[in-house]
């Protein structure tokens, strides 16, 4: 290795998709025939020259490893800059970092995907992977919750998944909203309503910290064992390589030892 890992490589914004009020997705193509071989659950550090960097889950791959997509919720200074970008702009990327969902271990199993808001982003590659290798996996059920209908992401994917006979999709919004005829209620409540059984299934959960916490509680109530509940944690990460220090849960670094954990691997306070 000749250059410091912390210095990113350039990638070009190929396409931008307005997902919701405050979320945009960016399809990034690596410049100079570089690749980004991200596995489902892995993340990248994206930087804007002059404005530092931030962590984003890779939410889709395309063109082999040349292109990948990130979804950006406008929340901090870097995401604000990204939202001002135009196609053709160049950003810096480094990664992929972190572990990934053990999709190979799950072969033959039924999968339950539970996403809240932008938390669906790191889970989408898992869904993509299963759909691509459909016969290797059993049934797939997706529960997706958003705060309001305006906050629903990946509308095209949802439409596709809805029409796919091999997927059972539940969409829900947190509180009643004019013009919304679908399910209403927060994700943990929906899980209880549906009474989702562990059976031969593994579940993967991602969303805001509070949602993960209560979803885990709901699943445990339904007698899901901890080692079959997977989550990907969104603590503050910066360096992505286990050096800057801030993303630790006890001795573990989320960026290095995670971000994917089954609940039995992390202490309760990490939730």
């Amino acid at each position: 290795m000749t250059t410091i890992e912390l210095v990113p490589k350039p990638a070009t914004i190929k396409r931008m998709i307005d997902e919701s009020r405050d979320v945009k997705s960016y399809v990034l193509e690596m410049n100079e025939s570089l690749t980004m071989p991200a596995l489902p659950g892995q993340f990248v550090e994206v930087s804007v020259q002059g404005y530092g960097e931030a962590t984003f889950a890779v939410t889709r791959k395309s063109k082999g490893d040349r292109e990948f997509t990130i979804s950006v919720k406008r929340i901090g200074h870097l995401t604000k800059m990204l939202h001002r970008a135009a196609t053709g702009d160049i950003v810096g990327v480094r990664g992929p970092y972190g572990n990934s969902f053990p999709v190979d271990d799950w072969k033959g199993k039924d999968i339950l995907v539970i996403g809240g808001g932008i938390g669906l982003a790191p889970l989408r590659p898992v869904i993509d992977h299963i759909l691509l290798n459909r016969k290797d996996y059993g049934s797939m059920e997706i529960i997706f919750g958003a705060r309001t209908p305006d906050d629903i992401l990946y509308k095209e994917d949802l439409k596709m998944w809805e029409s796919d006979k091999s997927i059972l999709l539940h969409k829900t919004i947190d509180v009643p909203f004019e013009g919304w005829n679908g399910r209403v209620g927060v994700v943990p409540a929906v899980i209880r309503d549906l009474g989702v059984k562990p059976d031969r299934r593994v579940s993967i959960v991602c969303g805001p910290p509070i949602m993960i916490k209560f979803t885990a509680a709901a699943l445990r109530e339904l007698r899901w064992p901890d080692d079959r509940i997977f989550t990907t944690l969104e603590m503050k990460m910066q360096c992505g390589i286990g050096q800057c220090g801030r993303c630790n849960i006890g001795e573990k670094f989320i960026c290095k030892d995670g971000p994917v954990f089954s609940l039995d691997q992390i202490p309760e306070h990490a939730l």
């Binding site: 404005y51 530092g52 901090g76 200074h77 870097l78 604000k80 800059m81």
Partner: protein
């Protein structure tokens, strides 16, 4: 001291306080330490003397979150900083029992602290109970500030730049200051970076200017910032310069009048325009 202990005991017994913030003898160092005394703890090692330089007000916001009612031992300068805390809704007076102690000056390394030489507030302006002598008020002289003011601009900048260059940006001055309590300090903000994170003269200058400005009309001159500065930057000098300015221009001595709103948010249509020209009048 006896009376103070007696009063605290009484307050505990009557259930009027759940904890008392004071100073405790520290046999390990021969000094004193800030300490939280609880109901059934001994008060025998509680002290108040020249070694009690630390401003305890900084701990109050954390403590009032944990205890229903907190007693606090206050020197005059500490009391002044409590005033600002109360006005800015940091702490509710209803959660505080202020135990004012007539302060005869405190020491740094065995010598009277510089701030005490120019002290005009020996008793806390807010005190539910007062102990000890309440010395007569006098006006601060700001002799050290005046010395600097006598220098030429070039000399002044040389003087401060040498200090600013040394700053490590450890923010000990910020952390120890009761009045520095922003959720996100302007120095930690990413965009825009009014103050760049790395320690260099330009960013350090920004930090010290902004720190001083943000404390203008609020600083109680407890001097803690200067005491804890690992690089011995004369931070009090900056604070004092503005304390002097605020008094000259607006007639306010921050923290000396309970419930007085900080002068920089006070509307006064009659301020003379000459203050914009920096005239010393």
């Amino acid at each position: 001291m006896k009376e103070l202990r007696k009063k605290i005991k009484e307050l505990f017994e009557n259930g009027e306080v759940d904890a008392v913030l004071g100073y405790r003898e520290d046999p390990a160092t021969g000094g004193v330490k800030a300490a939280v005394f609880k109901k059934d703890e001994t008060l025998d090692d509680m002290v108040f003397d020249g070694r009690c330089i630390q401003n305890l007000v900084n701990y109050l916001p954390t403590l009032v979150a944990r205890y229903r009612k907190v007693g606090v031992v206050l020197k005059g300068c500490d009391g002044r900083s409590l005033v600002t805390q109360l006005v800015e809704h940091r702490i509710s007076k209803s959660q505080i029992i202020a135990l004012g102690i007539g302060c005869e000056g405190v020491e740094i390394d065995g010598r009277e602290a510089e701030k005490c030489g120019d002290c005009a507030t020996h008793m806390s302006p807010v005190a539910d109970y007062e102990f000890g002598e309440k010395e007569e008020k006098k006006e601060p002289t700001f002799a050290r500030v005046e010395e600097i003011e006598k220098m030429s601009p070039v000399e002044r900048w040389k003087f401060f730049a040498d200090y600013f260059a040394k700053c490590e940006r450890c923010y000990a001055c910020r952390q120890i200051c009761p009045s520095c309590y922003c959720e996100i300090c302007i120095a930690d903000q990413q965009e825009p970076k009014w103050i760049e994170p790395s320690a260099k003269l330009s960013a350090n200058t920004m930090w010290h200017l902004i720190r001083a400005y943000h404390l203008a009309g609020r600083c109680a001159d407890c001097g803690e910032c200067e005491r804890v500065c690992p690089q011995d930057i004369p931070l009090r000098l900056l604070n004092n310069a503005l304390e002097k300015a605020v008094h000259e221009m607006f007639g306010v001595r921050p923290g000396t009048v309970p419930e007085e709103v900080p002068p920089l948010v006070v509307l006064n249509k009659d301020d003379p325009d000459r203050i914009l020209e920096g005239k010393n009048e």
